[in-house]
Symmetry: C2
Subunit: 200 residues, 2 copies
DNA sequence: AAGCATCTACCGATTGATAGATAGCAAGGA
DNA sequence: TCCTTGCTATCTATCAATCGGTAGATGCTT
């Protein structure tokens, strides 16, 4: 028992094949959507057979759920609350927007949640619940950050409304970019939020 | 030649079966997406056989393109520029938002363009071009309406940026609503635009 | 010996699309 | 009036491809 595993902070071996399947799955979901993502294509990309994909993820739902959970975990991990100072809050909001741009806009797709929302009727409840939970996290974080920008106190209702507006701007901007093929419109659409703190 | 057809303003007989197929197609696109929409299901809903659907629309692309073109035509038809007065402009913008809410939010789906954008890689160039053209119309109209709200003159760049922001808010709000299952968040997300004129 | 991971081979269902038969209808000539 | 021609719209039947998923054999490692 030489316990090599304790060396790693991430105490999660996670089969590399499984990871490769999830990576291929996420890519396929983003570029083609849920229905068009096929186990055979994923297998081909990973270099295995489709039956082996089923070994790791019995059904499509299992795979999507795993991808989504990792997506959320990874997202949440990089999401830290800033200091309760107005400028720090604006900086955190900008990082949030930058992260979305790098992950979604620069990737030439919509966000994973948007893609799945477009095929909502095909998804199992478990997947829908995961998406919903994901959005609550984003809303809570954004609402808190916005509250940090206000000099005085702000009603929690109002901070949540700002969170909705920012989230809507982000996701809608990606739709606009994809639909019109004009990536530069992302920053134009997000511009007001880049200097939100000045409004308070 | 008794020319009964000249009685109608809309000089477009348009086979009723064809219309029924398009209606079923639009519904299927919105609820399940492009890939999951099947000619057999459409046929069943209309009460014909799938071969008859192919008779009217040889390929899936043909059907989607027809649906999209009608969608745009119908949209454009109801889109009139307001008088060049600040309050009239705000009223027109509110009607625009209301129309989106009725057509998209109350329908419990994303917008047709958003759904198609989510499966962009599966669509033919002709369809993508149609979507792009559709967005240019919306941007132009919104930019013009915003320009009517300003007391003085506003650079066209700036009015277009407002158009991007409004469009992004609309589409993103529908994603937020669908993903979180909370329809009331639509108005919260759109609230700033409901009183835009007061900012100028 | 046992478990893990992969394979081959296959199933039933569904898909987009096509070929070809059929029925109804309208126009036109005898 | 009757018959023919041709067009429109629908049908039946089918194809090749692809899909998600399963059964069971195989090999590798411990």
């Amino acid at each position: 028992m030489d316990m090599q595993s304790t060396l790693s902070a991430a105490n999660k071996p996670e089969n590399p094949t499984k990871l490769a399947i999830m990576a291929a799955g996420e890519k396929a979901l983003l570029s083609q959507g849920y229905k068009a993502m096929s186990f055979r294509d994923l297998a081909a990309e990973v270099g295995i057979k489709s039956a082996s994909v089923h070994y790791h993820f019995p059904t499509k739902s299992d795979l999507v759920l795993a991808v989504l959970k990792r997506y959320r975990a990874d997202f949440t991990e990089h999401l830290v609350l800033p200091k309760k100072k107005r400028q720090a809050a604006q900086k955190a909001l900008n990082s949030f927007i930058d992260g979305f741009r790098k992950r979604v806009i620069d990737n030439g797709t919509l966000s994973l949640c948007t893609v799945l929302a477009a095929e909502k009727s095909l998804l199992e409840q478990q997947v829908l619940d995961e998406i919903e939970a994901f959005y609550e996290i984003k809303v809570d974080w954004l609402a808190t950050v916005v509250s940090y920008m206000k000099k005085g106190w702000m009603p929690t209702d109002e901070t949540r409304h700002y969170a909705y507006q920012i989230l809507a701007s982000l996701h809608g901007a990606s739709v606009l970019v994809q639909a019109s093929g004009a990536p530069e419109r992302f920053e134009d659409a997000m511009a007001p939020w880049r200097t939100l703190v000045e409004r308070f």
